[in-house]
Point group: D3
Amino acid sequence: MSVASLAPFLIEPLVRAALLEDLGRAGDITTDAIVPDHLSTTTALVARQDGVVAGLDVALLAFRLGDGTIEAEVARPDGSRVSPGDAVAAITGPARGILTAERVALNFLCHLSGIASATAAMVDAVRAHRARITCTRKTTPGLRSLQKYAVRVGGGANHRFGLDDAVLIKDNHVAVAGGITPAIERVRSAIGHLVKIEVEVDTLSQLEEALAVGIDAVLLDNMSPEDLRRAVAMVGARAITEASGRITLPRAPAIAASGVDLISVGWLTHSATALDIGLDHRR
Amino acid sequence: MSVASLAPFLIEPLVRAALLEDLGRAGDITTDAIVPDHLSTTTALVARQDGVVAGLDVALLAFRLGDGTIEAEVARPDGSRVSPGDAVAAITGPARGILTAERVALNFLCHLSGIASATAAMVDAVRAHRARITCTRKTTPGLRSLQKYAVRVGGGANHRFGLDDAVLIKDNHVAVAGGITPAIERVRSAIGHLVKIEVEVDTLSQLEEALAVGIDAVLLDNMSPEDLRRAVAMVGARAITEASGRITLPRAPAIAASGVDLISVGWLTHSATALDIGLDHRR
Amino acid sequence: MSVASLAPFLIEPLVRAALLEDLGRAGDITTDAIVPDHLSTTTALVARQDGVVAGLDVALLAFRLGDGTIEAEVARPDGSRVSPGDAVAAITGPARGILTAERVALNFLCHLSGIASATAAMVDAVRAHRARITCTRKTTPGLRSLQKYAVRVGGGANHRFGLDDAVLIKDNHVAVAGGITPAIERVRSAIGHLVKIEVEVDTLSQLEEALAVGIDAVLLDNMSPEDLRRAVAMVGARAITEASGRITLPRAPAIAASGVDLISVGWLTHSATALDIGLDHRR
Amino acid sequence: MSVASLAPFLIEPLVRAALLEDLGRAGDITTDAIVPDHLSTTTALVARQDGVVAGLDVALLAFRLGDGTIEAEVARPDGSRVSPGDAVAAITGPARGILTAERVALNFLCHLSGIASATAAMVDAVRAHRARITCTRKTTPGLRSLQKYAVRVGGGANHRFGLDDAVLIKDNHVAVAGGITPAIERVRSAIGHLVKIEVEVDTLSQLEEALAVGIDAVLLDNMSPEDLRRAVAMVGARAITEASGRITLPRAPAIAASGVDLISVGWLTHSATALDIGLDHRR
Amino acid sequence: MSVASLAPFLIEPLVRAALLEDLGRAGDITTDAIVPDHLSTTTALVARQDGVVAGLDVALLAFRLGDGTIEAEVARPDGSRVSPGDAVAAITGPARGILTAERVALNFLCHLSGIASATAAMVDAVRAHRARITCTRKTTPGLRSLQKYAVRVGGGANHRFGLDDAVLIKDNHVAVAGGITPAIERVRSAIGHLVKIEVEVDTLSQLEEALAVGIDAVLLDNMSPEDLRRAVAMVGARAITEASGRITLPRAPAIAASGVDLISVGWLTHSATALDIGLDHRR
Amino acid sequence: MSVASLAPFLIEPLVRAALLEDLGRAGDITTDAIVPDHLSTTTALVARQDGVVAGLDVALLAFRLGDGTIEAEVARPDGSRVSPGDAVAAITGPARGILTAERVALNFLCHLSGIASATAAMVDAVRAHRARITCTRKTTPGLRSLQKYAVRVGGGANHRFGLDDAVLIKDNHVAVAGGITPAIERVRSAIGHLVKIEVEVDTLSQLEEALAVGIDAVLLDNMSPEDLRRAVAMVGARAITEASGRITLPRAPAIAASGVDLISVGWLTHSATALDIGLDHRR
């Protein structure tokens, strides 16, 4: 399996912060008042919608931080397709801890599974073609690592994680530099040898200029399927081609049919709908 | 204006964290390589969709942290309705700082404006009735204060901010306590005098029991408009009534017509679509 | 038991910070130089004064963070009344860890037990009446959650935990709003349905105005027992009544005899004397 | 002036944390609802008790973080003796920011002024003698630097700031080492040349042994004034002498009359009463 | 200028932490006791060795955090070559703040200038050839961004900033994967399109295999100059070539003469000697 | 053993920060793609140079945070002398965790062992004399506690840990105070009784003045061995003598022969070469 793991010490600060955010200064006053300390319970995370699970480890950590003795049995790990009624995991332990951590666990799980599910839907839509679905930097502040992980879980590929791990020359950079050629040249002399360069182009003539200077990837912004096809033909094997610009599920197949290598989709991370997963209490 | 302000020291840690998340260890390597230190530019945050602006101060702080000399002129402050092409604010200053902070600023602004816009749509849909739209604890981890603020900006009301500032007795609490009456009684003896108690009920007979004991608010979960109407009649002035359970924009008017005081909507914070606002560079 | 628990992840950051504060950059240089690594010891937390124990879990966490193998046997958990010589808990393990964490553990335990003991004394003083003792926001910066917990352990009730979980309209708010009525009205339109409103009044005519508009609770500030009695009679069941203003142990019974629901006491958290508990080493 | 200053970046994290603790997730909902954004006000920090001011800079920082445009005019800086009615500082600026930060500012100021005032009272009580008043490590977790500063402001001297900046060999260390002599010897070979060694002794024969080995200071624990006098005579100029053990204001003069160099007083930091200082609003 | 800037909010947490580390709980007790509050002074950062300046902004921030009114006039910004006696910058302001921040400022400046100077020496040594000098991940924990910046200031290029921004397949990865070919294939299917792949090879036959599969860069580990020359010839334009393995200043020219694109040097960041720069006080 | 231990909660934040610094937002993408989740491996930390081990616990914590099931068997704990080929510890567990944490573990271990080894070399060089080797505040920002620990492991003694735990009056303080005598007097009245005073002197006449007032230690700055000898004779038993000023390994014996108590060496912490220790994978 090639999906990168999430190191526990990367997740833990986020889960702790989310629990503190929910518990505030006084904790779960409802549960503390009603539920006896010694009461144990068995619950299950259950899907209420079709989709792909992502973030289960994050959710389980929320429960374990709620009470160190809570145990989980995973039925459908990250990447599993689920249908309404499918149990994702059984959660057993002190009722207080489970009730207190429930919302935080679900907030992570539903959010990340929503992203994975949206990604999987896009991946399915272009399965007949070579194009991979990729995300952007249009993420929810504070959650980029988790959201990019959910995109991978859904079968997508990751774009840049930030401004520092690859070069993406946009139209404003080109304007400042006075052209695509000087922009690429300035960048090339400044960056390390393991940094790739991608250039955003709006027209085929800009594409021609970029290819002449030499780049690793080209972002074809807001082009029609026909122009994308022409662009792919022009590029050949000289660069990776990426289509971009408000690409919806219905439009995706036509875009993919152009032969581009990648389709980047901002809404996967900024506007995907949460997947409905609930916690069923079995008494 | 009754919308609570956002104290700068509440926002600042979130904006700093988001900038660090985007800049990583090496910063904006594209901009640093291409854009000269001394170059100034004028840009504008421009709406590309109909909606309600929220989070402008957060976005402006991102720019100012990117470069302390960046200046902003606000055209449409939080709460303003915007249409495609409307300028929200002009941002002037060093091109480096503006380009570097652009994505973080937009990620906050589009996310929060999306929530405010979704809230405003719901508020509009029930305007003929007394019901107010309110949010839930189904928020994105780390952003609860900002998201709840965006709900207020959109004309909505806030529900609990966390587990500690009000009591909400849910079905699992009732099951553990052995009934609605003992659950309420246990809570009442444990909480402070400024904490309100709300109880979730699924049936009218549960509602009757809760009213008999006395509560501040009642959450009527997944009831039909007819049952809601009956519930409202039963309650009279004895408690605040809140309808809840997968309430969509089309279903909202019928729910509101039941006469409930509040309609709580989870998707406002967990699944609202980002509002498309971009940064236009004027050269 | 209605005393809210303290979630470990709420306590842990405070205990770690206190240990770092005490250990500085070089650690416990006395103990490190003198005490061999392998030496075990048995000690006991012993009360040296009459009072009520609070914060034992916090103290035990300090020991466990000092050395993960330290074990504790609790004899008198939080809420227990103790007399001089009573063992609160036995602490066994590596002498180095115990000696290093001793002061931090005691600083928490004595401080919180002092608050619980002071609260219990006030609670005892008004036992003949309906009034409950409650705390204020006059807390020691950084320790509010712990201090409010100690008040609960001592038998008291909690007031607001902060500026955000309930409304308390004070004289300055009234002055700005131009009267009690407009102040309450402005607040009512701004807050969520689970937020209660309390108003501070200095006179019976102010009280009359507040009751006419309708509020959840009324803070009767610096009134004589006679005025308090009149106020209680005026209020009837329409609101919770709270007496406030430099209320000492000797004055408490007379205040309580007025029939108020609550007596709020700032000095419980800002000026209670630490309870003397020591660590006895048994060799 | 020999009172060490408090570097702003030492104070700032504490003040920010205290404001966040009080404002929670929703901020000052009362003030936000009632007080218009543009309203300015003039207020004054006014003493309501006799005492010594300490922590004014901390309080002023709380106001400035509440609103960057708040201005202060200091009338009685740290170290000033005040009487009821004395203005400590005038605070002018936006009413919202002042009301929001008021409690946090006062919590710091009253707490630290209480410590300074208690210290000053002890200093006054022993003024006829050479003894200086010093504090201990029995401080409130998280506030040690501020509390030790307040002791200096009150005219006291500081003892160790933590376990790492000086050696204090206590009875348990002596027991583990098998005597005072081996304890001192072990320490001496382990510590740096700028670290002083103090030994706690309960009897004059222990004192004799410590002096024979050579130490910098000796803590005379729970000795009668007579024994203290004998101890001081025995020590001569060979070490600094410190009296310790539940020393109250009435007992202080007799202790000081013994000729000891220092009297250490735990209650200054763990049990001093807050000094009553309020914020008067002038309309 | 292609040297990436250091965003202030990236530096600030490091400088604050360093100041807190040096000031501890009591601050600069020597300076506070001796230097009057109002005293101003003029000082200069002066080089005492030949080298290249790096980290001046970091040092100046330390002074400014020490006292906000300290002003600096920069004579030799980052990247300047200096000789003994050369003034790097004049620092003017309150003597207290300058003395208190002096050591932290110098610790950053001397450390980073040492790295820049070592890099510049290596760059000079290979100037006759095409090879660029680059750093590794063998950095001092916590300072990677700053150290990599210093390498750029010295004329070097940056390698990976961490494990996440490029792939470097090492011998252990090859062993686990069962060969270079499967290792590259596994990676290729897992990573994003803007991530480059480098493979470490020890022999020319390994190199042949890597080139056959196709990679972006090849790390030629511990090869003799002759083997490096052969490797460079084999590679041609198919990949970037990097020589690695205990490359010292004397050995660098021979390595560079092999025609490799890059020479990576671990000791630049883990063992470079600090550049001697002092603060001269002018009275 | 008199070497102070390193409390785990002192180390842990540094190790976590270093892992986060290396793993960035995406983690170890090479290892995640190539190494199967279930694969275990046995590795060994092996010295490749003569030296002294320091920081092994820090390195082991890095591995354990990488994967909680990694186990270590220590062969040569901190303080051990090692030669090329000596195994320091065996590390067994999941290959993913070991490979991911390897560089961070080695960065700490090699850096700290380098300092311990340099210290040990200096200690060996002066073994014939009474002088102890001590470090300074010229440390790498963020690592002072660890570096000072490494100096102790190498047989050295620690100087001040910061500006707050001892007084060191330097030439600039003397200049401001108007002489050595007023400088010492100002300090003496301001500091606590457990704080020692050291004065830096450049000449024997300054030394005479300092001794006349009385100080705990004297820093003899940049003196020739002859002057040091004279200084030591002048001082007698009245103070601790410390030689300082660019003291290299070859110059150390002559300095030590002067009879000084301490030789402080800045380069131990700011310029020591990392000790080469590698991780050998055994398949």
